[in-house]
């Protein structure tokens, strides 16, 4: 349904995204996860045809977003990061205007407006001026306009940003309910959000896709631990036992190596706990030789660390 092939976008000499390719099948919910400034919004804007890519191509339902833009745009419902609302209109006027722009007939606009107002729980505010609505309600109006014309493709850029926790939960449920009927791309910097809603996740960092997987598999890869590789010359069983006693250590494993080399161990700890000093002291005090000590940097985990963790609490 959505095909993105080798898309690169340069802002001057600075690449916002580099060689991004992915496919989204019909009915799939894809999460686009990355820290702020990773290139999520740029990708969304290219996919919706708001900005053209520097190179590469995007097709929506078989139509090229640049050369067959108008056809492609007919199939898209889009909620940009800053919710685009005419603050001087009321919800009814706004949705009617958007319906007309999408070429819907008067009758269809009327029935669909009733539907989406129901789906987004906006019944009580039908004739309220949008400028007077709270942020959460505005977000819902934004979603309502995106789904109004029953687009095959729905693109939501950070749909839960800046709204209160209860509304976040409701908005996520709403998005989840939409899945199945529509092909959906959801961009976010909040990890639990994708694991709740999405079937497949793309992690983007510094403009490049670094992982594509299901949320379950990613969660396994992103166990949320820090790792230290340590080389110690000494009796294996004793070394493992001693190191496991150090504060903060969760597990110690022997890393298989060539015979004759110094034994290497992988020590895991909780995220953000510094164990290297403790490990070194323990090994030296026991009289063994400490030959190597190295924190293992895992790019995925690095990025995981930079994803919002405070909102995690809220989401659970």
């Amino acid at each position: 349904m959505i095909e993105v092939n080798n898309v690169t976008k340069m802002y001057g000499n600075y690449p916002a995204i580099t060689d991004v390719s992915f496919r989204v099948e019909a009915g799939e919910i894809l999460g686009f996860l990355g820290p702020n400034g990773a290139g999520k919004t740029t990708t969304m804007k290219i996919v919706t045809g708001f900005i053209p890519p520097t190179s590469g191509e995007v097709t929506i339902a078989g139509y090229d977003i640049v050369t067959e833009s108008l056809e492609a745009r007919r199939h898209i419902g889009y909620l940009p990061e800053t919710v685009p609302l005419y603050t001087e209109m009321n919800i009814k006027e706004y949705l009617t205007f958007m319906g007309k722009l999408r070429g819907m007939s008067g009758g269809r606009i009327a029935s669909r407006t009733d539907d989406v107002v129901g789906v987004c729980h906006l019944e009580d505010y039908y004739t309220t001026i949008i400028g007077k609505l709270s942020k959460g309600f505005r977000q819902r109006v934004g979603i309502a306009q995106a789904i109004l014309h029953e687009p095959e493709v729905l693109i939501l850029d950070e749909p839960t940003i800046g709204i209160d926790p209860i509304q976040v939960v409701e908005t996520r449920q709403l998005i989840k309910d939409l899945g199945g009927q529509q092909t959906l791309i959801l961009s976010t910097h909040i990890l639990p959000e994708v694991s709740q809603i999405c079937e497949r996740v793309i992690i983007i960092h510094e403009g490049q896709i670094i992982a594509v997987d299901s949320p379950e598999n990613l969660a396994e890869r992103l166990v949320g631990r820090e790792r230290v590789d340590i080389e110690v010359k000494g009796p294996q069983q004793d070394v493992i036992k001693a190191m496991a006693d150090v504060d903060g250590v969760q597990s110690v494993d022997r890393i298989p190596d060539e015979p004759g080399q110094v034994p290497k161990y992988r020590v895991q700890s909780e995220l953000g706990v510094e164990i290297r000093a403790g490990l070194a002291a323990k090994v030296v005090n026991a009289g063994w030789d400490l030959l190597g000590l190295e924190g293992v940097v895992m790019s995925l985990e690095e990025i995981f660390l930079r994803l919002t963790t405070e909102e995690e609490v809220v989401a659970r």
Binding site: P80, E88, M98
Partner: protein, 236 residues
């Protein structure tokens, strides 16, 4: 169809917000004052010639105020993103907005027909020059609104938009002064580009095809610029 949808939406906003009323009221009161001066002067003639000259001058400042919101606001609210990702062509957006602003101009000018009515009640004006004068105002207004709309496409800030629009209009109005200090072809070019030169014919009661073509071209060129400006905004 999309053009009409956008024109209707913009017209509704014009009628539901104070901006257009203020601009209309200013235009009417200013032209009204100069109309009174004109017809109460000794040996006054039953014509609108006096106010047409002034009206053209006010248009330079009032037209950009009328149009400044049209595209600047869309950029500020982020609704432009919605508009251009909808199955709507850029020219439909621009034309719809232009039509809405022109409608306000038409209504304001329609209200000044009251002056004409007074002339007919208390004097015997020549219908020909009156017709020429109004045609001139309609054409000058068309060009000025297109320039104002172009200004609005350049910035998300309404004030900046209005200032840019007025600046372009002022330059086009007084460019004939450069024509006075240079000679030869350059002088002809500069005075030919000047709006005030072309307005003058109309206020004298002359309908010259060259003047008509001038204003229609200016309007068309700036509407075209606005469409291009909207397109390049997405390139940045």
């Amino acid at each position: 169809m999309n053009t009409l949808t956008i024109a209707v939406k913009e017209s509704k906003i014009y009628f539901s917000t104070p901006g257009a009323y203020v601009v209309g009221a200013m235009f009417l009161s200013l032209t009204g004052i100069f109309f009174v001066f004109d017809i109460t002067a000794p040996f006054a003639e039953a014509s609108v010639r006096g106010i047409v000259d002034w009206a053209s001058f006010f248009i330079v400042f009032l037209a950009p105020i009328l149009t400044m919101r049209l595209l600047a606001e869309e950029q500020k609210l982020g609704t432009l993103e919605l508009l251009v990702t909808s199955p709507v062509r850029d020219w439909e957006v621009v034309l719809g907005k232009y039509i809405a602003s022109y409608l306000i101009l038409l209504m304001t000018l329609a209200l000044t027909l009251y002056y004409v009515l007074l002339l007919y009640v208390f004097g015997q004006p020549d219908t020909g020059p009156l017709f020429a004068a109004y045609l001139g105002l309609l054409l000058h207004g068309a060009a000025a609104l297109a320039i104002g709309l172009f200004g609005s496409s350049l910035s998300a800030n309404q004030i900046v938009s209005a200032v840019v629009g007025s600046a372009i209009l002022l330059i086009l109005s007084f460019v004939d002064r450069i024509g006075e200090v240079v000679t030869g072809t350059a002088a002809l070019v500069f005075s030919g580009m000047s709006m005030s030169q072309h307005v003058e014919d109309f206020s004298r009661g002359v309908i010259d095809t060259a003047d008509v073509v001038y204003f229609v071209s200016i309007a068309a060129v700036f509407i075209f610029f606005t469409i291009r400006s909207l397109e390049t905004r997405r390139w940045r």
